[in-house]
């Protein structure tokens, strides 16, 4: 091995390896587009689903094409995360410039089809404003959709009254007008920050 050409250049080679590593690391986080949310462009597949809406009829993602869409998983018996998130999204979309209000749609996907009937879902989303569509489906359909967006949900054992908690993603996935995954909004963003992102996204898309 002492004749190996690599031995003699140990210093140079390790330096090269280091430089390569830094390049790789910086290359992955280089693009800064100043979103408040997390930029997920290219990381996730476009919006696609076949679910049931709160009128009980089947819908696909295509029917909502042309709008900026916010996808959120939850359930109507949810004690804190869902109401907070939906209220926040509502505040964010209410404050949009009037021209853009109709261009942003929130899709609330209930992952608890056992309890969330279309009627119950309809009443629930109505409470949180007009720009929200309630969606649900059979469990395998919901599992497929959750898997597509690399999230999951799980049910707790029901108590004596049949109540149970559902664990689900706390993030909101934002898709642009073409249905491409663009942003991930974490629970710590304020309505104002969300609104800024939505305006920027809605505007860049129309240009």
């Amino acid at each position: 091995m002492s004749t190996s050409p690599f031995r003699r250049h140990t210093g140079t080679l390790s330096l090269l390896a280091l430089i390569l590593m830094t390049l790789v690391v910086s290359g992955c986080s280089g693009e800064e587009e100043n979103w408040n949310g997390k930029d997920i462009s290219g990381l996730m597949p476009g919006l696609e689903f076949e679910l049931t809406d709160s009128q009980g009829s089947s819908v696909t993602a295509k029917q909502f094409d042309g709008k900026v869409r916010l996808l959120f998983f939850g359930f109507t018996s949810c004690p804190d995360i869902c109401p907070t998130a939906l209220q926040k999204l509502n505040q964010a979309t209410e404050g949009l410039p009037s021209g853009l209000q109709d261009d942003v749609l929130t899709l609330f996907v209930s992952v608890d089809p056992e309890r969330d009937s279309p009627e119950r879902l309809a009443a629930y989303v109505r409470f949180f404003g007009s720009g929200i569509v309630g969606l649900t489906g059979k469990e395998p359909q919901l599992r497929e959709l959750a898997k597509r967006y690399r999230t999951t949900f799980g049910y707790e054992e029901p108590d004596e009254n049949g109540n149970y908690a559902v664990s689900h993603s706390s993030a909101v996935y934002v898709f642009d007008r073409e249905g491409k995954a663009r942003l991930l909004i974490r629970a710590d963003l304020s309505p104002k920050e969300i609104r800024q992102d939505l305006i920027a996204l809605a505007r860049t898309d129309t240009e």
Partner: protein, 279 residues
């Protein structure tokens, strides 16, 4: 859930299944066709198959689901992919099978495959191998990169495969059965040094994760956990899995190499001195 559902892949990857099938297939056919005297014993065969199967198990069964939605299970997955599986594969010494197949390759193809050999020798340079071994752990656990890797299906596969391939390269460098006295394999002293060197940064990283107060890996919070568990507990367990078992494996590796060195110590020097006496 039935047993079959637990054994079925959560996120089916045809390429992964095919690769594992090819590895086992080539190993099996090689075993059957090779001359009796070269064939490894049954324990070695079992160790090899076990190493391959546990790596497959954490990638293409229900285990993968829990690895995607629980930080500590994910650390367990990488422990198998980067340490345990490759250690078993390297210790089983599949060299006779590799030699058998390399004899079957035509000289024309062999010369075309030569760049692969260069790449291999470059990656197996002790410094590069250890920087790569530790660097990959740090790279994929760097919070923004980790976040993206858990969100993107493609990145996730690149992450797991890079861990497995690098694990095999590194542990093969360490457990190469060819005696360094007579072959170009790495000297035992250097192997021990590498094992000690790579243990330290892994312990530092593990301790950092264990003792960090805030939530470092919040992607599991964002995407929902497989079952309700306090994020702090999840992170603590994951940090411990990054810290303790890899350090233990380094020590175990050092012991194995020491034993080998002590056994060979006499044999090669005495033979050369005998040669010296007779001439």
């Amino acid at each position: 859930m039935s047993l079959i559902e637990y054994l079925a892949p959560y996120d089916f990857s045809p390429l992964t299944v095919l690769s594992f099938m090819l590895v086992l297939g080539f190993y099996g056919v090689g075993l059957l066709r090779m001359p009796e005297e070269d064939r490894p014993g049954s324990v070695r065969i079992m160790v090899f198959v076990l190493g391959v199967l546990i790596a497959y198990g954490v990638m293409q069964t229900r285990f993968d689901y829990y690895s995607q939605y629980m930080f500590f299970v994910h650390r367990g997955q990488h422990l198998v992919l980067h340490h345990l599986g490759p250690i078993l594969i390297a210790l089983s010494n599949p060299l006779p099978v590799v030699r058998f197949w390399s004899r079957q390759i035509s000289p024309g193809l062999k010369s075309r495959l030569r760049p692969l050999g260069w790449l291999y020798r470059f990656l197996q340079h002790p410094l590069i191998a250890s920087v790569l071994f530790v660097g990959l752990i740090y790279f994929w656990l760097w919070p923004p990169i980790h976040f993206d890797a858990m969100l993107s299906r493609n990145l996730y596969w690149v992450m797991n495969w890079s861990m497995l391939i690098d694990g095999i390269l590194f542990w093969w460098l360490i457990f190469d059965p060819r005696p360094p006295a007579t072959t170009p394999s790495l000297g035992y002293g250097k192997r021990i040094l590498l094992l000690a060197l790579v243990a330290i940064p892994q312990m530092v990283l593990g301790a950092m994760i264990v003792f960090s107060r805030g939530m470092v890996y919040d992607v599991y919070e964002v995407c929902g956990r497989a079952w309700p568990m306090a994020p702090e507990t999840d992170q603590l367990l994951g940090g411990m899995l990054t810290w303790i078992p890899p350090a233990m494996m380094s020590i175990l590796g050092i012991l194995i190499i020491l034993r080998r060195a002590m056994r060979e110590d006499g044999s090669f020097t005495s033979r050369s001195s005998q040669v010296g006496e007779t001439t």
